[in-house]
Amino acid sequence: MHIPDGFLNVATVATTCAVSAGGVGGAVRMVGKKLGEKQVPLMGILAAFIFAAQMLNFPVAGGTSGHVIGAALAAILLGPWAAVLIMSCVLIAQSLIFQDGGLLALGANIFNMGIVASFSAYYIYKLVTWLAGANRRGTLIGGFLAAWFSVFLASTCCAIELALSGSSPFGVVLPAMAGVHALIGIGEGLITGVVLSLVLATRADLLQLQRT
């Protein structure tokens, strides 16, 4: 889902960069207020964690494999603003060090996989745990749905940006991207559920992080 340079037109690049800059600026302020700048080493290591977790592939269908984005996990464990900040840093490092995702397309990639994925995951998780209760079952179902929606919505945004830039017609790129990622999302959802249940079993206190 990392958009390279060359796919987006100038209007899309400018819009997504402006929105992402605003979102990341907000995240910097909110995280500074909530966690304090002294928690920065922890966030740096968790950004490296997301990066490393993206290296673990899981089978999707028909011999292909996918990897987690990790935005949902970060949003559930650390809150949406910290997740935006961590995902932005992961995407910047991926673009600069591994050329995975373009430099001008960074705004779009941060918008899709950082802002949209983190916030959709966070609020869906909140909604489900509110409906199903903040017990183990609610946490797992919430984690699954949050992760699935975060992947699905991020890929939809990605498709819309590509279509608006005239890179691909809307009627093709939207079903293709959303369809593939609806499948990958199931993997991301299941993995997020397993991770949450492991965290619940071993360090349940970490799930309370964003409330303190």
């Binding site: 990392h2 958009i3 390279p4 340079d5 060359g6 796919f7 100038v10 990341v24 500074g32 304090g36 700048e37 002294k38 920065v40 080493p41 922890l42 966030m43 740096g44 290591i45 950004a47 490296a48 964690f49 990066f51 490393a52 977790a53 290296m55 673990l56 899981f58 089978p59 987690v68 464990l77 900040l85 932005s88 840093c89 992961v90 910047i92 490092a93 600069l96 060090i97 591994f98 050329q99 995975d100 373009g102 430099l103 001008l104 590509l162 890179s167 691909s168 017609p169 093709v172 293709a176 993997g187 299941l190 993995i191 397993v194 991770v195 949450l196 492991l198 965290v199 360090r203 970490l206």
Partner: protein
């Protein structure tokens, strides 16, 4: 630790290495912007950009083969996103095929747009590889900080850079352990295994983060980082930026002229 490809060539001593990281960041951004703005079917312009970036790579003394190999690793992902384009652009039909149940038509303009996007992506990737191959990551971060990227982000990135390799090694060890235990079973079981690995990795990373933070506090960390590195924008940077800028502006003018 076998991740030496990063910063492998960044200790060189060429003109490109000696430039202020801000100069390199801004000129790279400008270069990519100009490449992306170039209209379809301007092959002369793309050739010019290629000569430009190739010259810079040669000046930097980063082995061209290394840059080429790194760029070719990314191209499959670019093709994956662009693969629909030749089939769904409207225009003069170049060929029509029957693949199984689908009637597939390829148009000339579709192929043109496809190649055009591929060329733009590749040129951008080449310039990004040059940027990061000829600049130490710490200098790059210092440059981004001077360009007003929020300090929290610069610090997160610098910690990330320090710990990526520790955690990637950890992942590799876990993968090896998993594979040597002959991971089989259906998709669900494999996904559960990967989930448990990521969960374990999360808890280990988190606890490592806490330890690092405690160790830093014990040594008087106050939320500031201090470095001896203080790149300055000198005449050399000005001349380089001016020269590159002029070539790119000339390219824009020529593009508009012959539109």
């Amino acid at each position: 630790m076998k991740h030496s490809f990063l910063d492998q060539y960044s200790e060189g001593n060429s003109l490109i290495h000696r430039l202020d990281p801000r100069t390199k960041l801004i000129t790279t951004l400008f270069f990519i912007l100009v490449v992306v703005l170039t209209p379809v079917s301007r092959w002369q312009a793309f050739a010019l950009y290629f000569i430009l970036v190739a010259t810079l790579i040669i000046i930097s003394r980063v082995p061209p083969l290394y840059v080429l190999k790194r760029s070719l690793l990314i191209i499959p992902f670019v093709v994956l996103i662009a693969v629909f384009i030749p089939f769904f652009k409207e225009g003069e039909v170049a060929g029509s095929y029957n693949i199984w149940l689908w009637q597939v038509t390829v148009t000339h303009s579709g192929i043109q747009v496809f190649l055009n996007i591929l060329a733009k992506s590749w040129l951008s990737i080449l310039s990004l590889i040059l940027l990061t191959a000829a600049t130490r990551f710490s200098s790059l971060l210092r440059g981004m900080e001077q360009l007003r990227l929020p300090r929290v982000m610069v610090m997160i990135l610098s910690f990330m850079y320090r710990y990526i390799f520790v955690l990637v090694d950890e992942v590799m060890r876990m993968k090896q352990a998993r594979d040597s235990r002959n991971l089989g079973g259906g998709h669900l079981r494999q996904i559960r295994t990967v989930g448990n690995m990521i969960g374990t990795l999360f808890i280990r990373s988190y606890e490592r983060g806490e330890r690092v933070y405690a160790a830093m506090m014990a040594r008087g960390f106050d939320g500031q980082t201090r470095t001896l590195e203080n790149p300055s924008f000198v005449q050399r940077d000005f001349l380089f930026a001016l020269a590159l800028g002029l070539v790119l502006v000339l390219a824009i003018v020529l593009n508009l002229w012959y539109l």
